[in-house]
């Protein structure tokens, strides 16, 4: 209703609210949801990038540069990480972002607990140095270890469907690995909490073993088995 009032006042005349919207009012309303012009840049939140910009000559030009409004999730905190933000969105179900964030925090806590236990139980210094205790590094490394290089694409030729091996694009590969990871984490008994299972899976993948790594290898094996049909990609 407030939007309607704003639109009508902008036009310079008032329309009784029980009447239908005219074309002119509709055009004003659509402006609110319109795309920003092309010259609007994405907001810069990284402190290091901003410092570099201040020293360079580009900073003078940016003073009069219009910027897009920053999304709520974006900030310049020390704990902000782009990949972590993306991963929470995959964990989220039904728009419950707060719950997803809490679940990820709990998994980080679990990972830290497991790794620190290993760290203190290790006897030599060389063993200790090998153990990674930063959960964020473990998360990134685990997802990178699970990303597939190839996938199969269905192509129908002569009435039968063939599975043709094709290279995966970066975005799609990351999506697949995160999807498999969460599938493995959610496949559990009703008594087990998600963070506990997810933390175990992540540590397994970080070390290059576990269910998700096997799933990736199975896909590669399927590609290898169907290598005879590789030329169907082009013909």
């Amino acid at each position: 209703m407030a939007l309607f009032k704003q639109a009508t006042t902008f036009l310079g005349f008032s329309i009784p609210p029980h009447k239908k919207l005219t074309a002119a009012v509709k055009s004003v309303l659509s402006c609110r949801t319109a795309y920003f012009p092309a010259e609007f840049q994405k907001p810069i939140t990284d402190q290091d990038v901003l410092k570099e910009l201040e020293d360079s000559s580009e900073f003078e030009n940016l003073k009069f540069q219009p910027f897009l409004p920053a999304p709520i999730s974006l900030n310049s905190s020390v704990f902000y990480d782009e990949f972590k933000e993306r991963f929470t969105r995959y964990v989220m179900k039904g728009g419950q972002k707060k719950l997803a964030r809490e679940l990820l925090e709990k998994t980080f806590y679990e990972i830290k607990k497991i790794q620190l236990k290993k760290y203190y139980e290790a006897e030599t210094d060389s063993e200790r140095n090998e153990i990674e205790c930063n959960p964020l590094v473990i998360l990134k490394n685990a997802i990178e270890n699970c990303t597939p290089m190839l996938t199969v694409k269905k192509v129908s030729r002569g009435g039968s469907v063939y599975q043709v091996p094709v290279p995966v694009q970066e975005k799609k590969a990351e999506y697949l690995s995160i999807k498999w990871m969460l599938e493995a984490a959610r496949d559990k008994g009703s008594r087990v909490h998600l963070p506990i299972k997810l933390s175990k899976e992540l540590i397994d993948a970080h070390n290059g073993e576990g269910r998700v790594i096997k799933k990736k290898q199975d896909l590669h094996k399927l590609c290898e088995a169907n290598r005879a049909y590789a030329h169907f990609r082009w013909s």
Binding site: M149, L150, P165, P167, H220, C223, E224, R227, A230, W234
Partner: protein
């Protein structure tokens, strides 16, 4: 298929009745009624033909490497990066082609024309009597 009235009359019936003495059907000529038969001053965009088997050898090398190393990904890092480079190169060339296609800048002495280029020329010099 549903025949039009004129077609039906001309081919199968003569003077309102079909011949019944075994003769072939008489053909009565009729004037052409339809749209004007002339080419338009516009060409429809068609995608260019793909090159044959892009990055095929790189893919095969990667697959054989994976099989040799018992699907250990770390051993095939070189092959993987080669395939990635090849794919990127291919995608970049496609993008370049599409940009040229969209812009439709005319190059003097070119034997083959893209649809955008042909449209520009047709707009400048339209066919007479259309």
């Amino acid at each position: 298929m549903r025949n039009s009235n004129i077609l039906y009359l001309s081919r199968y019936t003569c003077y309102g009745s079909t011949p019944k003495n075994g003769r072939g059907t008489p053909k009565v000529p009729f004037p052409y009624i339809g749209p004007k038969l002339a080419l338009r001053n516009k060409v429809v965009d068609t995608s260019s033909k793909q090159e044959s088997k892009i990055c095929f050898t790189e893919l095969m090398e990667l697959l054989s490497c994976l099989k040799e190393g018992d699907f250990n990904e770390k051993l095939c890092f070189e092959h993987q990066s080669k395939l990635k480079l090849c794919e990127e190169k291919y995608l970049a060339t496609i993008e370049k082609e599409q940009e040229i296609r969209r812009k439709g800048t005319l190059t003097p002495g070119a034997k083959t024309l893209t649809s955008a280029q042909a449209n520009i020329l047709l707009k400048k010099y339209p066919q007479p009597g259309v």
